[in-house]
Amino acid sequence: MSFWTRRIIYIVFAVALSIPLVTNWQVTPDIGLEARQLYAAVERVPADKIILINQQYEATTIAENGPQTRALMAHMMQRGKRFAIIGLDPVGPGLGQQIAEELAKKYHRPYGETWVNLGYNLGTAAILKGLARDIPGTVKKDINGKPLSLFPVMKGVRTAKDVGLLIDVDSTSTYAVWLAYFTQPNQVPFAVAPTSVMVSDIYPFMNSNQVVGMLKGIAGAAQYERLADAPGQGYKNRMPVFMAHVTIILLILVGNVQEIQRRRKVDAEGAA
């Protein structure tokens, strides 16, 4: 491969990805079963229970996990579902806070009334076992250092039994820890919004009903945006990914044709 071959491929990709973004080409996504199941799971959460949204990602995967979070929160704020942001990663809860604040203005949901941010919690298994037994006793304060008892959204929320659904927006496979130490032992419904790389890892858990719904990367985000009637980045970023797939298929074909031609040439030279 010459110095320029790889660079030309990068340029081809940049152009292919940019076309839908510049022309604002958007196609309404077909809704998959996994997104539909997650939507239904959110709808099923009763008013006396809270939804926990674990924000387990950093800026590096915000293009996938950001739209997923936005679509989920938009749905919850539309319906007035109570939810709490939480994270076992220092960056995730802050990113979730930014999205929630933006949506709270649109849907008129002041902080503390229907949503709260429990911030970053250090440790994995130990903190989750603590949360299962005593949520306010384990977290104590929100992301701004205020006692949880000040917020109406936390009223009646004490143990895992008061959690109606846990959604793990994840780029680091932390879903396995939540599953092992929080949702499975306490029979809390569990859904995952992973990056596309992780999707195939989640399917066995859906087959065994340990996971009740899933948003498959950016495609899942677009599907949920359609379900929640809140089009956003999922819609916008889906078509560039489609273009990338088409480009990759074309490049594989071109590469194979080139290789076949090269072999034929070698064979012909050998025969001569």
Binding site: L21, V177, A180
Partner: protein, 228 residues
């Protein structure tokens, strides 16, 4: 969210810093260069500093320092000092004569980890073992597709497990063919994983390009230039 190109402070400054960082990191695609190296180190430094700051402000200060050293209703829990002293035992690793003290702590942590891993394994995988026992015969309210899926799951499970059966040499022809089928099924799953990996990476690239083209207002500016 589209921001006007003219906006500069404070959102604008943050946005243009983002543009500079993105382009500097993308410059690696051309070739290794000092600008890329600088921004890479800047990112590592920022991420580490941010993580330290958040760990202190959201974990150590409210849950350890203030209860231990604070004077309020929650203060005065002086015994929390022992957590710090026990944590310091890790660093005896660097002193040969005292290194045995670190092993006390490491031993305890290993015991805790092993216990938790056992519990985690049982709660994670036992429902999957149960879910592998699916009905295979018609007449139980299952559609043809569900039955087909159940057969696919069973046959895939048997084939892949046979492939990983290394306890003795696979000489039996039936075992060999089943293991070969398992290898093919694994290859198909690797293909699916590769497709999803591409999708993930391209979604991230698309997010950055959307930022460069739309969030900066560049696309709007080009459209205005051409009278659209």
């Amino acid at each position: 969210m589209t921001r006007p190109l003219a906006a500069f402070w404070p959102d604008g400054a943050i946005m243009w810093a983002g543009v500079a960082c993105t382009l500097a990191i993308f410059s690696l695609l051309y070739k290794e260069n000092p600008v890329y190296r600088f921004f890479e180190h800047l990112f590592i430094g920022l991420a580490t500093g941010y993580a330290l700051s958040v760990t202190w402000n959201e974990i150590l200060r409210p849950k350890w320092w203030e209860p231990m050293a604070g004077s309020g209703a929650e203060g005065g829990q002086w015994w929390l000092m022992f957590a710090f002293l026990l944590g310091l035992l890790y660093y005896t690793l660097y002193i040969r004569k005292l290194a045995w003290m670190s092993r006390l702590l490491i031993g305890v942590m290993m015991g805790v980890g092993a216990g938790l891993a056992f519990q985690g394994f049982v709660s994670t995988y036992s429902p999957q073992i149960a879910a592998a026992f699916t009905p295979l015969l018609p007449g139980q309210g299952l559609s043809v597709f569900q039955l087909f899926n159940n057969w696919v799951i069973l046959l895939t499970l048997i084939a892949v497990m046979t492939y990983f059966f290394f306890a003795f040499e696979q000489q039996n022809k039936a075992v060999q063919k089943t293991a070969k089928a398992g290898r093919w099924l694994l290859m198909i799953s690797f293909g699916a994983i590769f497709g999803q990996t591409v999708m993930a990476r391209m979604a991230l690239a698309s997010g950055r390009l959307n930022f460069l083209l739309n969030d900066t207002g560049l696309t709007d500016a080009i459209r205005r230039l051409f009278g659209h």
